[in-house]
Symmetry: C2
Subunit: 494 residues, 2 copies
């Protein structure tokens, strides 16, 4: 009895603080707590853990919550089940030793995000629809490449600059369409995200002032934050980056990174006149212009606008296959003046030697035989249909909200009524069957608390319609837009 | 006549300074010079270039040198051939505008290296022999993966942590062999070079003191130099890193990155006792230990030594398929305490989202079906034979030089007689039919002027024998070792 009392006391004394309203589920909070006890020696090697039922009773938790925490601890090797005798703390020394890693590691600037939920209509990710993947054509391209004599060379160490036939193909294409200028060259990257990474390593130092659109894709923002750059977000309207606000910030800035066509997350596209004006102002101030051109070939309506790089050879352009073709195959590129490409290739070598060669060869084969263009046409037709479904559903269900329908790309930026917080609404949204990314995810300095991004292109028209209907109900049920006229903002605490 | 005189004057006045002894070939020097003239306006758009024969005569060059320079300028779009009328400066605005990129770009710390020469016995690259690639087995694995239902998922956006089945396979393997400790996790990277890049982004800040072996693989050194780390090189003997010198540097250091098995470039391997001592000292000083374990499974003689990670869970270990299997397929990993892996995965997302999924799936299939292990056995047998050829040839031809035969890996570190400069000798070596990397390529602070690295594993035994014979002749012809006894070192200037 003394043993039992002591045992219960032991477990009552070390009661964790669990928060049912936190983003992290309870079973993970419990796992983290128990793991912390093992690491700190609060639970000793060989010690028996209470049966799940007992611990659930002590902590007022569901028994499955405790079981799930034990399962994670067991999978990680912290505890082991010994049949009917229960679960015991393992004897092995833990990996982390007594090091407090969290205080040692560099900040990555990634925002904590909710784990994905299954079974919801998922508007969170800017990725193409897997249903459209031309899998048979991809298999054919891959089979041809694998059967070729080239395979031995593809498996051997390659060049930091990329697989030469792909480089030449892209360069020829860029010369034909007037994007590549004399003295330009191309570096193959592992997707466009790596193009961003290499360009900031090549061009930006800590303290440099970098201008980007706001709201902005977090992968851009975080990369420059890691570099210690001084980032200024320039607001975006339906015509793209605000040229007056930009103009006021250009002086002394090092670099402007801009997405003129179908910006992520707003979907905005710059008219030709704005593009010319942007280049004129940037040239005056000597700011380096990096153009993110990964969405421009996904236009569903209106006429093609020439990329910045076409009008001004000094622009550095990033491209990628991922948004049209297969994001799981990581191939992108940088087109720019040779000295920039040469230096970026040196950083590429430090980063990962070179991009996977098999994938480069397969994508080249796929593009050279016209399969990429054929696929793109299908994607455009399907995108048009999705955009129409989105427009109709939004008009019908999203009264009180504001948006501008994009002419291409993957995303719609939605502003809810002023007093609806998109992060708070997301909790109900996930329960109601849809998910999206709240506006603050795309912040540089502005909060965008009532905005959200709907990535619609990976969904089917029926899902889009159903998802927007659910979103509309949530907004209405929040009582927000109906009570909008009477809503009184609370002044900030000063 | 006035026109012709003026034309000749024009071309004589802007005579370039070409250096036939420089690393950059003459035709590239001429190209750079002419391109500079076009960029600066010294040559105007529409201006005709002299016929290759005339310019060759004016500059005292071979005509093919001038032709090669014109070809490069034409390929880059600076000039265009107009049939029999000759070559003209193109009208298009150059990409670089009037920006002086070279003064704008960040330093990459990459050393200028000689371009590869063809037709020589190439000891320069630490890569496996393409002749041993099990191409049919690779084709089989790839075909199975491509035919599977998994392909749709592989082509879609994946996780920054890597392809989950591969992650689990590697983690299970590491648990079985005792390398993975409770609380450890794995992050898939795009080869081991990216593991280095992500770990330095996760763990090192500008000014942090980082310890590494010296001589060292430049990809390690350059990565930490880019981060602004304060790098200290610790000498390497045949038993690996010098523990006394290391001990004197540990205090206040942030991180030690070490290759205990078959270090690149020395081939040195640490005995078990040295490994234990290293861990003891590192633990005392609180220095983070990163173990580069990419060569340990390439042992040709002696007995396997347990990796550092097995004895100490706090160690962070880097691994890769590239050194055993296919370097063109970029898949490596980091095994370490979960907080480190979690943070490194966030940096992975900023770096390139995730590693190519098709390659991950194919390598998993290849490994799961035992093909990787079967291939490794073949590589070991062949490596043993190559090492024997190297040993015999070195004993026979390299009198006056010093080396320690490695028990595994890909490299032999050779010290020439004191007064032979390996960089100077390389010029003759390339003419005589072999190439290698000089010692200073692997410097942190020590010059290693009379050392060089022989990467032997990608060559056939006959090539190794012939190459070492050539190298021996070169060393003897340099008159160095025969005059060694009478060589008087010049004191340093103080």
């Amino acid at each position: 009895m003394a043993g039992l009392a002591c045992y219960i006391w032991h477990w009552m004394a070390i009661r964790p603080h669990l928060d049912a309203t936190a983003e992290t589920p309870l079973y993970r909070q419990l796992r983290d707590y128990l793991q912390g006890l093992i690491e700190s020696g609060g639970l000793q090697a060989g010690e028996r853990l209470p049966p799940t039922r007992d611990l659930a009773g002590l902590l007022g938790l569901n028994r499955t919550t405790v079981s799930a925490a034990y399962d994670l601890l067991s999978a990680d090797g912290w505890i082991e089940a010994r049949g009917a005798r229960g679960s015991f703390v393992r004897e092995l020394a833990p990996a982390s030793g007594d090091r407090r890693w969290d205080s040692i590691l560099n900040p990555s600037f990634a925002r904590a995000s909710l784990p994905p939920v299954s079974g919801v209509i998922d508007f969170t990710t800017s990725r193409p629809s897997a249903a459209l993947f031309p899998i048979e054509e991809f298999r054919k391209s891959a089979a041809d490449v694998l059967a070729s004599d080239e395979i031995g060379r593809l498996l051997q160490l390659g060049s930091p600059r990329g697989y030469e036939p792909l480089r030449q193909y892209l360069l020829d294409q860029a010369r034909r369409d007037g994007t590549a200028h004399p003295g330009d060259d191309i570096l193959i990257t592992s997707g466009c995200q790596q193009a961003v990474d290499l360009l900031r390593r090549t061009l930006v130092r800590a303290g440099d002032r970098v201008l980007m659109e706001e709201p902005v894709y977090p992968g851009l923002r975080n990369s420059f934050r890691e570099a210690g750059a001084d980032i200024t977000g320039i607001p975006v309207s339906e015509d793209g980056i605000d040229l007056d606000r930009l103009g006021a910030q250009l002086s002394g800035a090092r670099l402007l990174i801009v997405t003129p066509s179908f910006q992520n997350p707003t979907g905005a596209a710059m008219p030709a006149s704005n593009r010319a004006e942007l280049l004129r102002r940037a040239a005056q101030s000597g700011v380096i212009v990096v153009e993110n051109d990964i969405y421009s070939s996904l236009r569903y309506s209106g006429t093609h606008q020439a990329p910045l790089k076409q009008a001004d050879g000094g622009v550095i352009q990033m491209g990628s296959f991922s948004k049209i073709a297969f994001p799981g195959i990581r191939v992108g590129w940088i087109l720019g003046p040779r000295p920039v490409i040469d230096r970026a290739a040196e950083f590429k070598q430090i980063t990962d030697l070179h991009t996977d060669q098999l994938s480069q060869a397969i994508l080249l084969h796929f593009a050279e035989r016209g399969m990429l263009e054929k696929h793109r046409e299908r994607v455009i037709l399907s995108g048009r249909e999705k955009l129409r479904a989105l427009e109709q559903a939004a008009r019908r269900h999203l009264a009180g909200c504001q948006w501008t329908l994009p002419a291409g790309g993957m995303n719609l930026w939605l502003e809810l009524p002023q007093n609806v917080d998109s992060s708070a609404l997301r909790v109900s949204a996930r329960e109601a069957g849809i998910d999206y990314l709240p506006g603050n995810y795309f912040s540089v300095t502005r909060p965008f608390h009532n905005a959200l991004r709907l990535s619609f292109i990976g969904l089917e028209p029926d899902q889009i319609r159903r998802g927007i209907e659910i979103l509309g109900q949530l907004v209405r049920n929040s009582g927000a837009w109906r009570s909008r006229e009477t809503y009184t903002p609370v002044p900030a605490l000063v």
